[in-house]
């Protein structure tokens, strides 16, 4: 295979790989599809096409795979879109390994286009955009090379070097054009795809489910993805907030799982509208990011009012209803990529009114699993003695647990009685183990307690606090008469918050910032944004209404117009300069080099003079360089206008001769050089 062919195929294969990656970044493709395509791509990139000899048989293999995918979809084990995307990847892989021909090229790129469309259905995030652009660039270059290759007669070398630069420039302009099209073309914001876009790095948290299975999770502590941003009033002004952010609570433990009995009376409550007030409370403006992956509202303990909720969806931002569920959970009714809302919280430990609870709920705060190991009760009694005060008892137990037990993220597997396993066998666990142990130890001694889940911590970034997925946490609420539920955390303090590496945190922060910009500027860029953009250009900013209305557009409109004009002019100049150079480029470069050399000794072309004129002038003036320049000019003219191209290395040889002639010039010619310099 010749070199240009190889380059074109590599570009084509890499482009297809980028198209597949646009689907793979959603994290929803099955691992086997991923593996098969990666292997196919790897083999194709080495230049081998093992399916070339058996095109029909290998294509037939796709039929049973399609059947298997259909069965997976029909049985509900696989999403239809994911199945279609997987199959597109397999088709692309089969084509990559087949014989190379014009038809195959078209099919490979068509499969790439389909995969990009699949990627758009699975994810619309930043990584998808990167893959999309990579596919567009690589496929365009490959197609361009294919056109050039087709135009070159058989046996002739394809001028790859000569065409790659204009091709690259053309592709760049096409991309810029696409960006301009994106910004300026009126967009229609209806949700064509049924699926939601997913966060680029996958869902960060496991979400707030109705149950918490002890030992069911525990790897979140090292996940540095930002899930929440909040501004607090009054601002605590601390680098590390060290506060508990409550999501929901659980009151029933069956030995393995935590759940909540019943549901509150008010279901499907309409939106809560908040008004400013309650100066003693902590006001929070919260934004839940797509990485959060749940619809449960988060607030500093103890939330008293939540509302003014907005859901950020692919079709825009709008107000959404809230729903009250069991375990004091407040949930968004509408599914969104992210949410923002406002909260008022009572300062910790000052909530004197925990709300009116039914007897059933009171009873449940003391409920123990049926098969509770008697050693648990005994252990609690040994630690507490005859302690009667619930808060003191909770603190005593908490200190004891922190002292006697180790924190670990290694899970013990799916054991029958995780609490017994934690307390008496492994004596190591994560926050859920500690919180569960404390809650049940308290209950065994008649103190009312429940499990709370949410986040712990808060890291200051600028004017706001952020929470990472690794800040997810579980702790205990002890019901103290006269003070309501009081937080007691049995987890050792060093392990409560996020435990990811700092480097990883900073990298993820950079990604989050880019992704946020991408979402704001691209994904959520709507027709209204376009209108605002145009209006901002032509109208004075809001707040300047008191000023006398000007007939002329504001300064920034002029500046923008000038910038756009300059950009268009520069682009035009660049293109018009390139146009004549597309032919006989080497000869033109050669004549440029000759003129540069001549300029070093003060021989410069006048107004409208060509090298031909300069050479004739030197001959007329009997200049010492004339004998050298004359044949050199002749050779340039032959190469440029006479279809006798310069041989490889010939221009360098000629230039070398000219340099030698310049070096050998008599001294009287030299001062010109200095004078020019």
């Amino acid at each position: 295979m010749t070199r240009p062919n190889r380059l074109r195929l590599i570009l084509r294969d890499l482009g297809t790989g980028a198209a597949f990656a646009s689907m793979a970044v959603s994290g929803q493709l099955p691992i086997w599809a991923l593996g098969l395509f990666v292997v196919a791509l790897g083999v194709a990139l080495t230049g081998r096409r093992p399916f070339a000899r058996l095109p029909k048989l290998t294509a037939m293999l796709l039929v049973p795979l399609a059947g298997a995918l259909y069965l997976a979809v029909a049985s509900g084990r696989m999403d239809l879109v994911v199945a279609a995307c997987s199959f597109a990847g397999l088709v692309a892989g089969q084509r990559l390994l087949s014989e190379t021909s014009t038809a195959t090229d078209g099919q490979v790129l068509l499969a790439g286009l389909l995969m990009v469309a699949g990627g758009a259905a699975l994810s619309g995030e930043l990584f998808f955009a990167v893959c999309l652009m990579a596919f567009a660039v690589l496929a365009s270059l490959s197609l361009g090379l294919a056109v050039v290759e087709a135009a070159v007669p058989v046996g002739e070398p394809v001028p790859v070097r000569a065409v790659m630069r204009p091709l690259a420039v053309g592709t760049l302009f096409a991309l810029l054009g696409a960006v301009a099209f994106f910004i300026l073309f009126p967009r229609l914001n209806w949700n064509v795809g049924a699926r939601r876009a997913s966060p680029g790095l996958g869902t960060a948290t496991s979400g707030f489910s109705d149950t918490v299975r002890l030992g069911g999770s525990g790897t979140l502590k090292s996940n540095p993805r930002v899930v929440l941003r909040a501004t607090l009033t009054p601002d605590p002004l601390t680098e590390q907030l060290g506060a508990y952010w409550l999501g929901r609570t659980y009151d029933t433990f069956d030995g393995q799982e935590w759940s909540t009995i019943g549901a509150p009376k008010k279901r499907g409550r309409t939106r809560v509208t908040l008004r400013r007030g309650a100066e003693t409370q902590v006001y929070q403006k919260v934004e839940l990011l797509p990485a959060y992956g749940s619809r449960t509202l988060i607030a500093l303990e103890t939330p008293s009012k939540l509302g003014n909720a907005l859901a950020h969806t692919p079709t825009g931002t709008r107000r959404t209803l809230l729903q009250e569920l069991g375990g004091d959970e407040l949930r968004f009714v509408e599914e969104g990529l992210g949410y923002s809302y406002e909260v008022y919280s009572v300062p910790p430990g000052t909530d004197t009114d925990p709300g009116k609870m039914e007897q059933l709920e009171h009873d449940q705060l003391l409920a123990l699993p049926d098969n509770l190991d008697p050693r648990v009760t005994e252990l609690a009694r040994q630690v507490l003695g005859d302690e009667k005060d619930p808060l003191t008892a909770a603190n005593k137990l908490s200190s004891w647990l922190q002292r006697e037990y180790e924190y670990t993220l290694e899970l013990g597997g799916d054991v029958t009685d995780p609490l017994t396993e934690f307390l008496f066998v492994r004596k190591a666990g994560h926050c859920e183990h500690f919180a569960t142990a404390l809650t049940l130890l308290l209950r065994s001694q008649g103190f009312q307690a429940r499990l709370a889940t949410g986040f712990f911590g808060g890291e200051r970034i600028g004017d706001e606090y952020i929470l990472r997925a690794g800040d997810a946490h579980a702790w205990t609420h002890v019901l103290v008469p006269g003070r309501g539920f009081v937080t007691v955390d049995a987890t050792p303090p060093a392990f409560r918050a996020n435990q990811s590496l700092e480097l990883l945190e900073s990298l993820v922060s950079i990604y989050e910032a880019i992704e946020s910009a991408w979402r704001t500027s691209v994904v959520d860029y709507s027709f209204r944004d376009q209108m605002n953009f145009v209006r901002d250009l032509t109208r004075p900013p809001a707040g300047s209404g008191e000023k006398k209305r000007l007939d002329l557009p504001p300064l920034r409109a002029w500046v923008t117009a000038v910038l756009v004009g300059v950009a268009v002019y520069q682009a035009w100049r660049y293109l018009s300069r390139r146009k004549p150079r597309t032919r006989a480029l080497e000869a033109t470069r050669f004549v440029d080099a000759v003129e540069r050399q001549l300029a070093t000794v003060g021989v410069r072309a006048g107004d409208g003079e060509t090298l031909e004129d300069v050479s004739a002038r030197l001959t007329r003036e009997a200049h010492p360089l004339a004998p050298t320049v004359s044949p050199l000019t002749r050779r340039y003219l032959e190469a440029r206008f006479g279809q006798r191209a310069l041989e490889p290395g010939e221009s360098a040889q000629l230039l070398k001769g000219l340099k030698q002639a310049i070096a050998a010039l008599p001294p009287k010619e030299k001062p010109r050089e200095k004078a020019q310099a």
Partner: protein, 326 residues
């Protein structure tokens, strides 16, 4: 053994063509001294197959140059002095009644020569001028329903006095357009004039001119000119120059399409002086003035020599402004 007959003679190489041109030019310089540049352009015009307009005051060697060209190429030659009473038949020929055979026979006029000198063309009435110019364009003469082909190679050289316009019929622009080049010889330099005084004997300088080539070689030369390669970018350059004349503020009417073709053909011929088989922008610029200056209609109402100089000056300006392909 049968060998295929050579239908056409092979084209001369550019080197051979240049040798021929230089031989002719050197020969002409024996008759017209100190006018190397004009002589080269005149030979270029003849080699390109175009007709030449010599515009100058009397006594500077116009007729001598034309006769020398005819002798150098060994062309059949005729000279027609254009006057106010000259009729078309005086140039083209006429049907003459032959009493013995009681038939009309065609008697060819002086135009039936390979090189025709139309002296002071602007003194003839328009009808006569048109007859000549039509013959120049068609290469044939139609008379009383019969067509008579002019000999090949065929060239007309016309002269006119740019100063004395009294009693003349200035050539219309469309007819000027049919001349490939317009040249002015101008007075020779004082040194040349002095040399003429001291060296010239009683014999006419034209008698010293011998044939140095043949009409067949001239025909081959013209084929070589037509076969010269004109790169697309050079062709675009020619067109851009013509467009620049059309867009120029001081020019009422710019170069016509025929002018563009003439410029290309003249540039092709000029390339032979460098023994090249391709045209460069330099070739185009070398013939730009002689090819286009007489075809432009300037906004200024001046006539004669002043107009000629102004047109040449404008063309130089245009050639400086229009960038040549690199």
């Amino acid at each position: 053994m049968n060998s295929p007959a050579r239908a056409v003679s092979p084209l001369p190489s550019p080197t051979t063509a240049r040798a021929t041109l230089e031989r002719v030019a050197a020969n002409l310089s024996l008759a017209v001294q100190g006018k190397e540049k004009e002589v080269r352009l005149a030979v270029t015009c003849v080699a390109a197959g175009g007709h030449l307009l010599l515009e100058d005051v009397p006594g500077v060697g116009k007729t001598t140059l034309v006769e020398a060209i005819a002798r150098s190429f060994a062309l059949s030659f005729s000279r027609v002095q254009f006057t106010a009473d000259l009729m078309p038949a005086d140039i083209l020929g006429a049907q003459v009644f032959h009493a013995q055979s009681a038939t009309f026979n065609f008697r060819p006029g002086p135009i039936f020569r390979q090189l025709v000198l139309a002296d002071e063309l602007n003194r003839a009435p328009p009808r006569t001028q048109s007859a000549l110019l039509e013959a120049m364009a068609q290469g044939q003469v139609s008379l009383d329903g019969a067509t008579h082909v002019l000999p090949r190679p065929f060239t007309v050289v016309a002269t006119q006095n740019p100063v004395d316009f009294s009693g003349t019929y200035p050539l219309p622009d469309s007819q000027l357009d049919r001349f490939l080049m317009r040249l002015s010889l101008g007075h020779p330099s004082p040194e040349v004039e002095a040399r003429l005084l001291t060296t010239r004997d009683a014999s006419s300088p034209i008698e010293a001119i011998q044939s140095v080539t043949s009409p067949e070689e001239l025909a081959d030369l013209r084929m070589q000119v037509a076969a010269q390669r004109l790169d697309d970018t050079v062709a675009e350059y020619v067109v851009r120059l013509a467009q620049a004349t059309r867009a120029h503020g001081d020019i009422e009417r710019g170069a016509s399409t025929r002018a563009v073709l003439a410029l290309g053909m003249a540039a092709r011929a000029h390339a032979l002086w460098e023994a090249r088989d391709f045209v460069t922008p330099g070739d185009v610029r070398a013939v730009l003035g002689p090819c286009l200056a007489h075809r432009l209609l300037l906004r200024s109402a001046n006539q004669g020599a002043y107009t000629r100089d102004e047109a040449t000056h404008l063309l130089e300006e245009v050639s400086r402004k229009v960038p040549a392909p690199r």
